[in-house]
């Protein structure tokens, strides 16, 4: 349980921590779009520089970013192997039976790794420097225009923040129940696939029951405190867009122009 880093906020007071969650969300999405615009090596170089700069600005040890890549290493490996084996090209570097590795294949593989790593690190910057609740608030605020189309934005946001709020609780609960069943002789880490699936039953049923109980209690508690949805609700946590956020947006705008112009010129 202790190793899960995705969605693990690390407190701090860096530039990135201080950014408005909305501008962080926009930046992350924008950056992903930019990655797919990149084509030449110098454009990749620029994006790598942006990510490196952002990780430094976040003042979070590099170790955490590397950790976030670990669970995806296998996926990455498979993609690269496929890319190497099945892409066509003219300059053959290496041949073995029906497999031939071409220079084009190799270049494509490196580019895929780069894109992948950049995307993961950028989203990790977002999740490491922003609390889940801030992210939920940010999403709510960004989705607000959809209200005109009768999308229940507030309800969606409520569902989102309640779910996020209960992720750690659920993990604690899971650990507790796992411990209790281990004490009754269950070894969750051994056995064939089918055996292991069977072992999940004594874990899932108590989790289900306690989650339903908890949802019930939460509903009662919210009703008792007079919760009503709708526009009249005010916010405890106000989002504030500062100069810093505007600056970041301008930087991204400049980057986009740079990359766009680069595409035509080279």
């Amino acid at each position: 349980m202790d190793k899960l880093i995705l969605g693990q906020y690390i407190p701090g007071d860096s530039f990135i921590h201080r950014m408005d969650p909305r501008s962080k969300l926009i930046s992350a999405v924008w950056f992903i779009v930019l990655i797919f615009m990149a084509s030449t090596w110098w454009t990749y170089g620029m994006l790598v520089a942006v990510v490196l700069f952002a990780t430094v600005l976040s003042s979070i040890p590099l170790k955490f970013y590397l950790n976030s890549l670990k669970p995806l290493a296998f996926l990455l490996l498979i993609t690269v192997v496929f890319q190497l084996m099945f892409s066509q090209g003219e300059t053959v570097l290496f041949e073995l039976g029906w497999v031939s590795i071409t220079q084009e294949g190799l270049i494509n593989a490196v580019k895929i790794i780069l894109r992948f790593v950049l995307i993961v690190i950028m989203s990790t910057i977002l999740t490491l420097t922003t609390t889940p609740l801030e992210i939920a608030d940010g999403i709510e605020s960004l989705l607000k225009p959809l209200k005109k189309l009768k999308v229940p934005v507030q309800e969606i946001a409520l569902i989102l923040s309640i779910s996020l709020r209960f992720v750690p609780t659920l993990m604690q609960e899971t650990e507790k129940i796992m411990n209790a069943q281990r004490a009754r002789g269950v070894d969750f880490s051994s056995g064939s696939l089918i055996q292991r699936m069977k072992k999940v039953v004594p874990l899932l049923i108590p989790l289900f029951i306690s989650s339903i109980d908890r949802a019930d209690q939460l509903a009662v508690a919210m009703t008792a405190r007079g919760y009503r949805g709708g526009d009249s609700r005010t916010k405890l946590r106000q989002l504030t867009w500062t100069k810093l956020d505007t600056t970041v947006m301008l930087v991204f705008l400049a980057l986009t122009f740079g990359l766009g112009i680069g595409r035509y010129l080279f």
Binding site: A183, R184, V186, D187, P206
Partner: protein, 293 residues
């Protein structure tokens, strides 16, 4: 089986910004057949310590000896099932562990994991029900139709059915009604006295400590700050209060009598009977003095 902690430290999420050192240099020995109470303010690390008693947690540094099996960080853990069969743990609010369709099957879950056949396990389950104060008619009921107190009993039965020689209890009576609490504590005491089971009890109920335990370990902020016989530990009421702990009401009463009325009755009565006896003795002594004078 004797249990020994040697320089045990435990840290949650080490090497992260969330690093949380919860146990500091813990040393103690729990003798075979003893009744040990572990007390401490909330958050002092009791539940964390308990999880070391059946190798659910491995000390970050130091080692835990369970009989002649050593648990430490540098060793690959094997034979854990032998340990877990020997040391039964009832966690805080154990009713959360119930999952089977029927109470019988739920209780039989443990023995089956330790190699009993289904038939044998169900027989054991049937036998254990009356021990926790439920009759056989409960075998085929759903555990989720029970009251909280009854669920607690079923969960405890699910641990007792494995016939552990060490029984570890994390606040087993929290949230039960007074009668239920008394019945539970009596049950554990019976197991201790009649079957010689080693009991390790975490509790906030100092009366229970005084009444049942022969050994006591006091935790404060993850350190063992005192250990010994309850009669010894309870001598220092002021100090215990300074770490948010209490003495049994009987001790407090006797201390008040001594302080307010200069009445020296039995100084550390662990039970109501001891207190009453002390007061009777004191009254009789006074009568004799008065009678002569």
């Amino acid at each position: 089986m004797e249990i020994q902690f040697k320089n045990v430290n435990y840290t949650y999420q080490p090497d992260t910004p969330f690093e949380n050192k919860v146990l500091h240099d813990i040393n103690f020995t729990i003798e075979h057949g003893s009744y040990t109470a572990i007390v401490g303010h909330t958050g002092s690390g009791k539940s964390t310590l308990l999880q070391h008693l059946n190798a659910l947690k491995v000390p970050t540094t130091g080692s835990v000896w369970l009989g002649d099996y050593e648990v430490n960080a540098s060793k690959k853990q094997k034979a854990l099932n032998d340990i877990r069969k020997e040391v039964g743990v009832v966690f805080q609010f154990p009713e959360a562990q119930l999952f089977e369709e029927t109470i019988g099957k739920d209780i039989a879950f443990g023995p089956q994991n330790f190699g009993a056949t289904e038939e044998e396990a169900l027989r054991l389950a049937r036998e254990i029900l009356p021990v926790v104060g439920l009759d056989e008619s409960f075998m085929d009921k759903s555990p989720f139709d029970l009251s909280g107190g009854q669920m607690r009993r079923v969960a405890i039965a699910g641990v007792l059915v494995m016939k552990p020689s060490v029984l570890v209890l994390d606040e087993p009576t929290a949230g039960l009604d007074p009668k239920g609490q008394l019945e539970m504590m009596d049950l554990f005491n019976r197991l201790h006295e009649e079957e010689g089971i080693t009991i390790i009890l975490v509790t906030h109920q100092m009366e229970d400590v005084g009444k049942y335990a022969d050994n006591m370990i006091v935790l404060d902020a993850g350190r063992v700050v005192d250990q010994g016989a309850p009669k010894q530990v309870f001598k220092n009421q002021k100090w215990l209060q300074s770490i948010q702990l209490d003495v049994p009401q009987t001790v407090e009463f006797a201390n008040l009598l001594a302080e307010k009325k200069q009445w020296e009755v039995e100084r550390l009565p662990m039970t109501l009977t001891e207190l009453a006896d002390g007061i009777v003795r004191r009254l009789e002594a006074e009568k004799q003095v008065n009678g002569h004078g």
